[in-house]
Symmetry: C2
Subunit: 456 residues, 2 copies
């Protein structure tokens, strides 16, 4: 029987790990640069913490952990007799795996409220688990990478987060568009056309304007239950165009009657002018169709797309008003951003954007020529490590071809040879595996050459 | 209802995280320095991979994940009618949380055998889960930190691992004793006294010699079923003393009749002389009573204790002969070491060994004086971040006392003040929170001061 892992999960080998670490450590340093502190929460949460937070579908997608021991003891006989799997679950499972980082974060804030300094700026990089049907690019275990500020209404936080996003992708070398919207503008539009319950239909329709044209969008809106008058009123909103400043002006005059919309536009103006004053490398774009997590966000909505790869959203976030209300601590506003590590990994792979340092593998391998030579080699290796060189010695005195084959297979840039001659002189022969060039060097000289040359 | 987390699990706040990260990143860099590559495996493994690997007790301590959907469908009616929790488990759960890093590593090696370069040197730092009864210092979720070399018999690997252990604790500033033994010596002793099945009893008894004296040890051995003759033969082994070299000599002459013991002693000599030639900061001690994971280790056995804190073993490891046999790939020898992150954390806390950099928190906080000042401050903050300074701006224009209180509570060493005067000059007032000293500086000057001074 060949061993395997559960579907939708992955092993990460050395090369993938080095690349993922490069992404995570880039994000982590920028988080720190912006004053965010890391926290970690347990993989398992009480089901009472998780259930009901992700909708009915989400409850089903939670991985639940069977109680230890005689899990059927004390369970209502009727549930067992009726084979009522759904209700039995809550009796035989008390814990579940975290589904995202937001609910555990909310739980953390409430549980530790007295120890936290508000505004609380936290980041968290941990795996989450969902019993989703696995498919290309969708896994049952994947990492989330979130930063949030809670306890402050100020739009300074939005400006800071946009700068942070800009800096992360600049460091990763990914050209991006940051799309921006505000829930209040969306609510204002729905209010303005007299269809406050049709928010999602409206945004879906607006989103299609470029693809299917105004005529078809209006047709679709009709199918979704908007009347002709409502569609007429919506037309100028759908048709806004031009630069971000022009779009804001058009929205402002069209939606003047909605106070909510005006507030949203004012917020957008403040955020946009704030980041523009500081200079952004990314393209910033107002997108009135942007509505991610509509039920959750109450102000700014942010989405990031890569400009050079077709892959959907690679980062998203926004402002919410009531993170912790469900845990009995109402009125805590916050704004957050979540980096999609798996998609960013795919983007960097597609564009081959990993710097050679991202490999961070072994820099030199000492060949093994037998006992005496190995003892001498290990002393030199020790010296190299003290200088920060990542090195290893082939542990067995195998055939030269086999030993060199390892250095080759692992892309180790240098091989050090300590035979009888070298030993006598206290030197080593350093072979550059890319060029084939060999030099007889002292360990100190070799350290310099290896330190400089990541030949591959 | 105050939210809580499952018993035996922990939240890690910013201060704990910074400290844990310091430990993990120290270990990680040393692993890399010694040529180990990182891998990660999924939190969930198939139960078929995990069951039967940790003994009957271990099977019970596995956290099992309930199958999704109608988990009772197709389950044998008889098991349900009999409320047979034990056998039902395997029908309603296919997956479990990993219990350690060794079994997933073995599974990984077999599954990816064709992609791996032997000897394969991997490290892995991930949480594991055990449904143990939680108690002080024992958690249901904790990190393991393992490095292993598989596919090589050479004792060079042992020497490398001992150096690696030495380097990790030197970097952490912890004085340690490394205790060393060899399973073959233990087997040889048992062989020699004619009680090959009494290995554990013998090691437990030897271990107590310092505490209870030879007389009592022999009494205990009698109770454990050894006869007088066997105890007589064991006495010189129990009584070995002196330096490591002297102990080896005494063992060698006492156990000369056992070939197995002689082989173990030869291995110990090679490992010890190997590390001594390279120089070890730690104290290395031969300990014939050392037997950790006896059923698992087949050669070298390693255990590390802190010299300045009473806390038991903080790192352990050894050589095994058949890591992957259970997955159908026999004869793969390896040697590994596992750092006990939680205990190392406790040791560093007890000795207060965290360097100030381990905090790696925010270095400067800009005060918020309102819109215009904030815009100017954010430009300076941007400049500082470009120079690598970790900084934040108080997002709201709150009372000065409240803002300064935050810097104080978070131990942020510098506060930057940009009021009207400063704005006019393009400067900022930098306050050193430790000394109270204030200076009017250009952003470039402030960068220099902040970069140098981790005042706290």
């Amino acid at each position: 029987m060949k061993p395997s892992i559960p579907k939708g999960t992955r092993d990460f080998g050395p090369v993938e790990m080095a690349r993922r670490n490069y992404i995570f450590s880039t994000i982590r340093s920028v988080f720190a640069l912006y004053g965010f502190s890391q926290i970690e929460t347990p993989a398992m949460e009480n089901l009472s913490t998780l259930m009901g937070k992700y909708g009915e579908e989400g409850d089903k997608l939670l991985f639940k952990i069977l109680n230890s021991g005689d899990f059927l003891r004390g369970v209502d006989e009727k549930l067992i007799e009726e084979r009522d799997a759904l209700h039995l679950t809550s009796k035989i499972c008390e814990k579940g795996l975290r589904y995202d980082l937001t609910v555990p974060f909310a739980r953390f804030v409430v549980q530790h409220r007295n120890e936290l300094q508000m505004p609380f700026k936290r980041f968290q990089i941990q795996p989450v688990w969902r019993a989703d049907r696995p498919q290309k690019g969708r896994y049952r275990e994947f990492y989330q990478c979130d930063a949030d500020v809670v306890g402050s209404d100020s739009l300074v936080n939005e400006i800071e987060l946009l700068q942070l996003v800009d800096e992360v992708f600049a460091r990763l070398g990914v050209n991006i568009i940051i799309k921006l919207n505000n829930r209040k503008v969306l609510s204002g539009i729905a209010e303005f056309i007299g269809a406050p319950d049709k928010l999602i239909d409206i945004t879906v329709a607006i989103d299609k304007i470029d693809k299917i044209g105004l005529e078809n969008v209006c047709g679709e809106l009709g199918e979704r239950g908007l009347d002709c008058d409502q569609i007429e009123r919506l037309k100028p909103v759908i048709a806004i165009s031009g630069t971000t400043a022009e779009r804001l002006d058009q929205l402002e005059s069209t939606l003047a009657a909605s106070e909510t919309a005006m507030q949203g536009i004012a917020e957008l103006r403040e955020v946009i002018s704030g980041v523009e004053a500081l200079g952004l490398k990314a393209i910033l774009e107002l997108d009135v169709s942007l509505a991610r997590g509509l039920n959750y966000y109450t102000g700014t909505i942010i989405e990031v797309k890569a400009r050079d790869v077709e892959i959907g959203s690679i980062t998203g976030g926004g402002r919410y008003d009531n993170l912790t209300g469900v845990f009995g601590m109402p009125g805590l506003s916050g704004v957050g951003i979540s980096f999609g590590a798996d998609r960013i990994y795919d983007v960097l792979n597609a564009l081959d954007l990993y710097p050679s340092e991202a490999a961070s593998g072994t820099q030199v391998m000492f060949v093994n020529f037998g006992k005496a030579e190995t003892a001498a080699a290990m002393k030199m290796l020790k010296q190299m490590r003290e200088a920060g060189i990542r090195g290893e010695i082939y542990p067995d005195c195998s055939k030269m071809k086999k030993q060199m084959g390892r250095a080759d297979a692992l892309s180790i840039p240098f091989v050090a040879i300590v035979g009888e001659t070298e030993m006598a002189e206290g030197k080593l022969t350093l072979k550059n595996m890319a060029t084939g060039e060999q030099q007889l060097l002292t360990p100190a000289e070799a350290i310099e050459v290896i330190g400089k040359g990541n030949a591959r």
